[in-house]
Symmetry: C7
Subunit: 97 residues, 7 copies
Amino acid sequence: MAKRLVPLLNRVLVEKIVPPSKTNAGILLPEKSTKLNSGKVVAVGHGVRDKEGKFIPVTVKEGDTVLLPDYGGNEVKLGDKEYHLYRDEDILGTLHD
Amino acid sequence: MAKRLVPLLNRVLVEKIVPPSKTNAGILLPEKSTKLNSGKVVAVGHGVRDKEGKFIPVTVKEGDTVLLPDYGGNEVKLGDKEYHLYRDEDILGTLHD
Amino acid sequence: MAKRLVPLLNRVLVEKIVPPSKTNAGILLPEKSTKLNSGKVVAVGHGVRDKEGKFIPVTVKEGDTVLLPDYGGNEVKLGDKEYHLYRDEDILGTLHD
Amino acid sequence: MAKRLVPLLNRVLVEKIVPPSKTNAGILLPEKSTKLNSGKVVAVGHGVRDKEGKFIPVTVKEGDTVLLPDYGGNEVKLGDKEYHLYRDEDILGTLHD
Amino acid sequence: MAKRLVPLLNRVLVEKIVPPSKTNAGILLPEKSTKLNSGKVVAVGHGVRDKEGKFIPVTVKEGDTVLLPDYGGNEVKLGDKEYHLYRDEDILGTLHD
Amino acid sequence: MAKRLVPLLNRVLVEKIVPPSKTNAGILLPEKSTKLNSGKVVAVGHGVRDKEGKFIPVTVKEGDTVLLPDYGGNEVKLGDKEYHLYRDEDILGTLHD
Amino acid sequence: MAKRLVPLLNRVLVEKIVPPSKTNAGILLPEKSTKLNSGKVVAVGHGVRDKEGKFIPVTVKEGDTVLLPDYGGNEVKLGDKEYHLYRDEDILGTLHD
């Protein structure tokens, strides 16, 4: 039974997208062409408080596909799935088709 | 006779949850599947003061199950029980069933 | 199929300009005379928030030719093209003919 | 003749509580069960000034039993007694029976 | 064809003044007497924004002769001329005859 | 002829009190019992300015006996006497009989 | 022909006072008794701006004799004279007869 994690402050819970290492036809892809460290946002915190005590909202939202930095993030295991926690300001951008 | 600890500022007193290392039926679980550094919040401080001198409340409360960072925290022994003190901003998230 | 990246905060997505290493007539240029670490701005973030919560706009805009620092920046591969992400404050200047 | 020390700013003068290393009946206690780095607050400073020049009071008061961090603090010898000076924000919590 | 560089934020583009290493009469000057790390300001940025969003102007202006620090600055090559970019606050002073 | 030093900002000029290393009767004191790093305040600066430009006064005053940290401070020789300069915030406390 | 240097921001141009290494009568002074790192203020900057954009004046003025820190400062050679540039906050105090 997997627990649900609600991130605190401006933390963002991300499920990494593992790129296919071969094409549908079974051809192995060279490692370089598949390397894009991206993930799906699963949950976001309420944000950090500004000086007046109001919460500054997190810039990404649940469901966003995000570009992640190469370093940092906390690995979290919930049930048998692996997630990563990032600070909102460390997420590089959002990805769109 | 165990003493009671009231954390100062935005510190949070946590009792770590030690995951069972084998199932009820006695089967040993591989270490990886059991690793989730979580704990139960036992007591919280009043928070730190903002610039107007008002206390910014701590984001977790007594009884919360929290996800803890892999490093940091001060080990505290009260009576024969072991606790850990964390700064509120270092707690990664709250866990829910 | 290349994804489109929208940079977060004050990040700037840049496509580096690779200087020709020989002239049109085919004469090899010495390395020194061609070294200018510049790029074309492809996309910019909304900026970071100031203390009142308003966004401080990024100082460069899409289409600008910019002078880049020798170090720093995150390499990003979108489709088969290579880009770099810089923080707005790390971009040294804009280049004009 | 011991001098009296008035701590400056948000410093707190603490007399450490040395736990008994054996019981009343003379049985030696294992080191682990006796380790709790605590002390009695002997004197506190006026606090540091906030931006309007008012003093932010120290969170502990004379007579409090406090939990101390494992590192830090300045050793001070007054007469033949040994004390320690801590910054208010470094004191972990107050202890109560 | 040399490009023109407009520095961003509080950056200052400087063309270094290379002191003559011999006198007009051809006498070699000892190295010590000629060492003054100075330059001519070629272009300045708009300055950085203060908390209200207004630009704080750069303290030097185009045409100023400035004293430069021994370390720091970014080397920039525009056309066949070499320049250096400094942050306004790193320029030590202005030089006058 | 000794010069007089007026400390700048929140600096405090202190003449260290060298504890007697033997009693009046000539008995050598063990080093431990004499170690208290204290001094007499000889002069204080005007303090540092707050954000409105007003000076925040220094917390100690001329004539105070102060407890000094074990490290830090600038040694200053005026005439044939040795003094030390400390930042106000580095002085641990005031000593009273 | 010596150039004149106008320091920027809160920088202070100082000409160091070299203490006589022997008395008028020609007796060599031991090094210790002559060591006081002092100088004469030759020029001061306009100061740094506070948050409202007004300049915070430098605490020393032209003609002051100042006590200098043992480390830091930028050596500057103007004509055949050697000077040093210090940040206002690094100057320890003013010296008076």
